[in-house]
């Protein structure tokens, strides 16, 4: 269902709940295909009532999986080999 696809930006709000830096401009390396790009360029799927999935635009691998239930955040970053961000100002 391509129509449901959103940009990395769409996850900026929920990612900002537990990352202290602006995540969409951070670079990731995909565990599936090795692609390196900014999170903002990845694809976001919001599954109503369940969570959010960020997928690599090259290989569709789930980079980040998020859920929020019973007052807990669940964050699965297995699909990312590393996240890289320049020194944080201030």
């Amino acid at each position: 269902m391509d129509e449901l696809r959103l940009d990395g930006n769409a996850a900026a709000g929920v990612l900002g709940e537990f990352f202290s830096f602006e995540v969409t401009t951070a670079h990731y390396a995909c565990e599936g295909c090795g692609r390196v790009d900014q999170i903002g360029a990845a694809m976001v799927y919001e599954v109503r009532g369940l969570g959010t999935i960020v997928r690599c635009p090259s290989c569709d691998n789930a980079l980040i999986r998020l859920a929020h239930n019973r007052g807990r955040h669940w964050i699965d970053l297995r699909g990312i080999r590393y996240l890289q961000v320049p020194d944080v100002a201030g």
């Binding site: 391509d2 129509e3 449901l4 696809r5 959103l6 940009d7 990395g8 930006n9 769409a10 900026a12 709000g13 900002g16 709940e17 990352f19 202290s20 830096f21 602006e22 969409t24 401009t25 951070a26 900014q38 999170i39 903002g40 360029a41 961000v85 320049p86 020194d87 944080v88 100002a89 201030g90």
Partner: protein, 248 residues
């Protein structure tokens, strides 16, 4: 250099005015105590809480320039929407609205990022692009910009008059409209959906290294972005903001 995020917490804005832009869209003008400013292209998340505690949340692009005093959100009324009908039909001046933001760093533009700018919008996708257009107008810069804006009809062109004013006042801004469903008599603009040929005619040549921002329904955005890349634009300089299936 990355920016340390302030904790983006939910807070309340006060609605100062609700403006009808077109038959289906309204702009909300908000006052936020202690607003720290934003970058053109960023959005806010709006949250509604029903009496039974049920919450619904949606993202809306900030349509106002960083220089503007009040925040503007432009809402497309979706008939079966959970959030938009409340914002367009019920919300009034004086009401409070829960939101968090500004959010986003990837789909943003400020004058120092340079140009030339190519902005392509479909329907309510014009909102973040409008912040980008209002920003150099307010900041007094002359960054060359071209807007290609697709709407269903003349009456549904959001910000139509303001766009005309900004284009005639500022030689750096050129506006091209594409009307896809109906057009007024004597219409001289494009009369079809945006396609590769139209983009080729309107966009800066790839060798001028423009920055492109494309916003609107997902299928619209993907078609335009693919066409721009095939026309030779650097994919890293084509930024997209998909609104999903219904365009907001």
């Amino acid at each position: 250099m990355a920016v340390r995020l302030r904790r983006i917490l939910w807070r309340l804005a006060e609605v100062t005015e609700v403006v009808a832009e077109t038959p289906r869209t309204k702009s909300l003008l908000l006052e936020v105590p202690g607003w720290e400013g934003h970058k053109a292209g960023q959005h806010v998340d709006v949250r509604l809480t029903a009496e039974d505690g049920y919450q619904a949340q949606r993202s809306y692009s900030i349509a106002s320039a960083p220089e503007d005093e009040r925040l503007m959100l432009t809402v497309d009324r979706l008939g079966d929407g959970e959030v938009s009908p409340y914002l367009t039909d019920v919300l009034m001046a004086g009401d409070k609205l829960e939101f968090r933001g500004p959010i986003g760093g990837y789909f943003t533009w400020e004058v120092q990022d340079g140009g030339p700018l190519l902005l392509v919008g479909g329907g309510s996708g014009i909102a973040p692009l409008m912040a980008m257009i209002r920003h150099p107008a307010a900041a007094g810069s002359g960054v060359p910009a071209r807007l290609l804006y697709s709407s269903r009809s003349y009456e549904e062109i959001i910000y139509r008059e303001e766009l005309e004013k900004l284009a005639s006042r500022d030689g750096a801004l050129e506006i091209f409209h594409a009307l896809t469903r109906s057009r007024p008599g004597g219409w001289a603009g494009y009369a079809r959906r945006i396609d590769a040929e139209m983009l080729r005619e309107v966009s800066w040549p790839a060798n001028e290294n423009p920055l492109a921002f494309v916003c609107g329904p997902t299928s619209f955005v993907e078609g335009v972005a693919d066409a721009l890349v095939r026309l030779g634009h650097d994919p890293a300089r084509v930024k997209t903001e998909r609104f999903g299936p219904t365009g907001g």
